[in-house]
Amino acid sequence: MRNSCVSSSLQPRLVVDGAELKINEKGMSYWEHELPWHYEEDGFQVTRGSAWSAPGCHLGCGVLIYSKDGRVVRVEGDPENPYNQGRLCPRCVAVDDIINHENRLQYPMKRAVEDRGLNKWERISWDEALDTVEQRFNEYKERHGAESVVFLQGTGRDIAAYISRLAWSFGSPNYAFSLSNVACFGPRIFASMMTTGVFMIGDYSQQFIDRYDNPEWQCPAITVVWGNNHIVANSDGAYGHWVTDVMQRGSKLMVIDPRLTWLAAHADCWLQVRPGSDGSLALAMGNVMIEEGIYDKEFVEKWVHGFEEYSALCAEWTPERAEEVTWVPADEIREAARLLAANSPALLQWGVALDQREDCVFSSRAVLALFAITGNLEKPGSNVVGPELLKYITGWGRELLSFDAEEKRIGTDELLIYKLGLQVASINKMIDHMIEQPEDYPIKASWIQTVNQIACGGVDNERTIEAFKNLEFNVFVDLFMTPSAMAFGDLILPVTTYPERNGIRVGDGTQRGETINAAVPPLGECRSDMEINLELCRRFNPEAWPWETVEEMFSHILSETGLDFEGVRETAPSYLPFEYNKHEKGLMRPDGQPGFLTPTGKVELKSLGLEFMGFDPLPTYNEPPMTPYSQPELAKDYPLVLQTGARQHNTFHSENRMSGRLRPIHPEPTVMIHPDTAAELGVRDGEWVWVEGPVGTTGRVARAKRVAEVTTAIDPRCASSDHGWWHPEGDPENLFDVNEININNLIPWTTGLTGVGANYKCILCKIYPCKDGE
């Protein structure tokens, strides 16, 4: 199943070779393990399970946790788990450094409001902590309505189900994701829903327990990595190195990225696109395919709606016109279009770069359109709808929220996408609200679980800090003291890491049955996020939370599958049945008719849903608001196009930087600039520089310190920076240096074209050396 690419022949390496494949009463298949999920080996306790948060991660690989005397000694990849096949990324390999870190929070702490920003925390009991939250939240609810308390999460932690249910059962509609305009994954999902009615994922065989050996699966002829560096990021449920797996099995590779990533350097075709202009590039590739007649005419005839209108739009985007916008030579656009059209099946591995611009809905649809007109949907090795075990991951317990409360959800009156397409409140509108504090709708308190918004996710710290300082009571739940908690927290509750807790992990994209299994007791007085939320919720709304233990709660969540927590744990990982070509078989629509889950039953290149919402129904290109073309005057002072958020192997967003093992891999924040640009600016490789830019059109200017990485991997007109930076070793009362090194300070809290998608990856900046002492 897992090959080694050293020998010329593909050698199976899965340890369960020869094990018996079983199928449970729900039709889920699993390998019978030789050993139970918990066993002893050479004086170690070994616990098999899923590695899902905390710390944060987008995957949840299969792991074996080795512990001794109640302490995690190391974590290894589980060779019996088809998902990662014994492999692990460096963050998980070194996770013991986080679990056993001396600075972990170990008990609840409080701080007086007047001491915000000062390191004057006082240890309290869990009873006092939860009594305080219960009493204060209930007071605000009584005086100002439940909506005056907001609930915020970050990304990559097992929290969406439990925090959404907490918010809704408390009665507040204001549950939000802390990233500006939910600019991660959500916009791609929305764009995809508006096009096909479903969300599709690249088919690396991850839905099959026997993976690459499954006879139905076919290796993609080409993998197209668009705006993603997933061998580093491990994003959206896709294990990054599946791409090297399929390359080793013969897949070609196309990469669309402004940077020369390792993948780009090893691609058959790399298009170095100007940040933010992907929509134009995709339309020009469509132009070539239509012009040359090299699309899948049969699929288009049968399954595509709006092809004429789409063709007319593409006709406007000749490769020559797109070259001016994208900086990709016209001939390269032609070659790329031909390469994609000639290689079927084609797998689309798209990434967050498509969400991180205002026109994400339209540019993502333009990219998806290329895979529709080439017929690369639902066939083996292309892009498929993964099997789904549970729907809980996008929010759990919506029915607990009254209609009146729902009407008050922030953002729904101005941003139609929030009203019709999303369950969260708009964080951008919420920040405005916190600052303005309208008399009829004040915001008084926040519950901030798994997010460090002034180091990561949030933008424009000046405004963010002002907003949260305006609230009377901010509660944090986290592993470590963070810059955000230091800046405006009043209470902080300590959580467990994944080897210290139980949980369920069904996965993003393609779901499977797995559990997170406690291997060691929690550090100090830490509790899991689920235990905290269960206990607090039982105080607010006992009818909505009838469970005595979190394991009972997990079994309830799983009950719709006919399984319980213990049952899933015994057979984990278990795999759901899967079929290809569901649109042909009537398996995609609830009415059982063939077709996609759209009003027309076809892939809607002209979207009826978007038209209904009053948006452009076509995947039209929109120039982002802060570029040399949209802001020619500003660009005279800030000539470089900056993209932020470059992922590093050693960190997950703002996490992991306190690890002595991981930190040396990438010890300080960096900005990539081309040698020609560096020479012009008088900047040397390894030197500290300021990256400075306008905060949108606010009239303010912000800057962040970086180490210059001078490299030909970037266009001379561009710069690329990593994100999520703070110095855990820094002075807490200087907020761990966050205000000097957070690149998101250059990005404004605007709502953009639709209210989803924010310009993290296409803004303007200038770069100059730091002076001595800075």
Partner: protein, 108 residues
């Protein structure tokens, strides 16, 4: 004699081998039994990029003798995300290296 054979065509520079070794052998942060090296990126011809990583054994590598005795793979081999490191007899590794491009053979 055993050797590690790396097909460096596929090494993506993910650092898993370094840390899997460091944690398994309880080496202090900053010391490694296998250490990653980067060469590039630079463009040596139009659209041709030199950009490679090379994991290299150090004096602290013992080829995970204890893991081998327990029927497991060395920690770096098991955790290599690109599946590009393999442990085998040195003579076999030499034969494969002689017949295939981009091979790095190492003994301790």
């Amino acid at each position: 004699m055993k050797a590690l054979l790396v097909n460096y065509r596929w090494c993506t520079g993910c650092h898993s081998c370094e840390l899997a070794c460091q944690v398994k052998n309880d080496l202090p942060a900053g010391q490694y039994g296998i250490k990653l090296n980067q060469v590039g990126p630079w463009e040596y011809a139009p659209k041709k990029w030199q950009y490679s990583y090379f994991p290299v054994l150090t004096d602290q590598c013992n080829l995970c003798a204890d893991r081998l005795a327990a029927g497991k793979l060395p920690s770096c081999v098991q955790h290599c995300q690109a599946n590009c490191i393999q442990l085998m007899d040195a003579s076999e590794a030499a034969t494969i290296a002689a017949a295939n491009p981009k091979m790095l053979m190492m003994t301790i």
